[in-house]
């Protein structure tokens, strides 16, 4: 019975992930006539396993198995809450936008299963977009006002929204895919391709020459970037296309000039980018972006703006492609603002987990025995863990305007929760850990020998890749 409970604690993560990526492939779980339908074999197997476990193990051991499963999953939930908060919003945001857009009769195509794309590449590239767009937004509110007011052809209004939507994350990039099927990259494709696509969103938002006047209104402090923009806004659409696809030169996203094509390693081989319709897609998409979302994005950006203005200077370049080590060091020295925050946060969470594990084991073993070394280890690593909390609290937020609800105190509350959970995990008996290890090994064996090769998600990815290859 406790096995069932334990599995119930650990398995939903797997299945939730699987169904999320598979995008509800099983619509008819409930039979229409009988309104009931239970899987026979699954019932037999789970019942048999639960019965055997209940027969062989004592209630205390089973309760410990439940505890270890629960604590383990909640520790991971804590880590995920932190990590996801620093991820650039992508799939969910665009899904949301597309749904609302569809109600307006625009863009009937859906993103589909792009949510299954490994987000890493998108993060790297899209972080630059966010930073870039925010630079424009933060430094030149008058220009944005002008965007809205002049609106001689409606383009400028759409454009200003493009800025805020760009700040909202990769959503713009997804719109490109959905509306015009330009620059569709296969699911699970390489980060370069993703970067390229998002880059196209940023690049085309300032592609055509007619935006030149608007961008000339940028602050004085942005001269350098303005120069770059001038250069690019004088290019024609086709030139913008070439720049975006060719991966040459320095296309700056937004105004920071932080994200450059060469840093994104845009691969010249992908010829599917098309700046012309892409730009139309951007404007279409953003013109129909619900105001609530853009307003939320604007609020987020405005709150960041005060921080930026307090800094007094234009933003420095953001090293999106900072290695894990660079990002980690930047966070440790409180310079995470200018690095890949996602990597910085992941590295810090891992280090914090390691510290808490050492502390928890130290308390349960060393201090319990009253040894001096126990106290020393707990003191040193406890200080390290506390320091990681300070470090994490100083990593600037990544705006998540697509979230309807945000858990408060995010780096600190989940970190505290993780610490307590790890301590409780460490106080479980060794035998519980051995049983847990055996079950985990079984689970991993099933996953890596069967599941990973046969999952719908991977089949879908392969299909998308084949389609892409056929198209190219």
């Amino acid at each position: 019975m406790a096995l069932a409970g334990n599995s119930e604690q650990t398995l939903p993560n797997v299945s939730a992930t699987a169904t999320a990526t598979a995008h509800c492939h099983v619509p008819s779980i409930v039979h229409p006539l009988y309104a009931c339908c239970s899987p026979v074999n699954a019932t037999l197997v789970s019942g048999l396993l639960a019965g055997i476990m209940a027969f062989l193990l004592s209630i205390d051991e089973l309760a410990d198995m439940m505890s270890i499963g629960t604590l383990m999953s909640y520790t991971m939930v804590g880590a995920c809450v932190i990590i996801l908060r620093y991820e650039v919003p992508n799939a969910n945001a665009s899904h949301h936008l597309l749904e609302e857009e569809g109600e307006e009769g625009e863009g009937g195509l859906k993103v589909g299963d792009l949510g299954a794309v490994d987000a890493m590449g998108g993060i790297d590239a899209a972080t630059g977009i966010i930073r870039g767009a925010r630079g424009v937004f933060a430094e030149t509110p008058p220009a944005l006002h002008r965007f809205g007011q002049t609106s001689h052809d409606g383009d400028s209004a759409a454009r200003s929204r493009t800025m805020s939507a760009g700040g909202a994350g990769g959503g713009v990039g997804r719109h490109l895919d959905s509306n015009y099927n330009t620059a569709v990259t296969p699911v699970g494709s390489v980060p370069e391709a993703r970067g390229e696509r998002v880059l196209a969103a940023a690049g085309t938002s300032k592609g055509p020459g007619k935006t030149h006047g608007d961008y000339a209104a940028l602050d004085d402090g942005m001269e350098e970037e303005e120069h770059e923009l001038r250069t690019h806004s004088s290019t024609s659409d086709s030139a913008a296309k070439r720049t975006a696809t060719g991966g040459s030169g320095t296309v700056s996203t937004g105004s920071t000039g932080a994200s450059r094509v060469d840093s994104l390693r845009a691969s010249p081989s992908d010829g599917s980018l098309n700046a012309g319709p892409t730009e139309g897609a951007v404007m279409l998409a953003t013109a129909h972006t619900p105001d609530t979302v853009t307003a939320a994005a604007a609020r987020e950006l405005a709150s960041e703006r005060s921080v930026l203005l307090a800094g007094g200077t234009a933003e420095k370049a953001v090293h999106i492609n900072a290695s894990w080590w660079e990002a980690f060091v930047a966070a440790q020295t409180f310079k995470a603002e200018h690095t890949n925050r996602f990597r910085a946060v992941v590295a810090n969470v891992l280090l914090y987990t390691f510290f808490t594990v050492v502390v928890a084991v130290g308390i349960n073993v060393g201090v319990a025995e009253g040894s001096l070394w126990g106290y020393i280890v707990v003191g040193v690593f406890g200080a390290g863990a506390a320091w990681q909390m300070v470090v994490m609290a100083n990593v600037p937020e990544v705006p998540q305007p697509q979230l309807k609800f945000k858990c408060p105190w995010v780096p600190l509350l989940p970190m505290t929760s993780m610490g307590v959970n790890v301590y409780l995990l460490a106080s479980l008996s060794v035998y519980t850990w051995i049983r847990f290890a055996i079950w985990t090994v079984i689970g991993f064996a099933i996953y890596f020998w069967y599941g990973v090769h046969n999952s719908r998600a991977s089949a879908h990815a392969a299909k998308m890749e084949a389609e892409q290859a056929a198209k190219a």
């Binding site: 019975m1 299945s15 699987a18 492939h25 099983v26 074999n41 699954a42 019932t43 719908r456």
Partner: protein
């Protein structure tokens, strides 16, 4: 002490409260266990439907749909 609250009431002579709480605890425990066991086959079914477990775990009886 396995049931602190019930024990506390028992220690103060409130036998009825002890029984009341114990019955409540039993009901809660069995509810929670049922709630753990009941979804498990469906979880396995969902995983199998996603291809992460063998398909035979995802089969549903054709005749009874049960």
């Amino acid at each position: 002490m396995n049931a602190p609250l019930a024990g506390a009431f028992g220690a103060h002579g409130a036998e009825w409260a002890k029984i009341f709480i114990s019955v409540g605890a039993l009901a809660g425990l069995s509810t929670s266990l049922m709630a753990s066991i009941f979804p498990l086959p469906r979880i396995i079914y969902a995983i199998a439907s996603d291809g992460l477990l063998w398909p035979w775990l995802g089969t549903v009886s054709k005749r009874f749909q049960t």
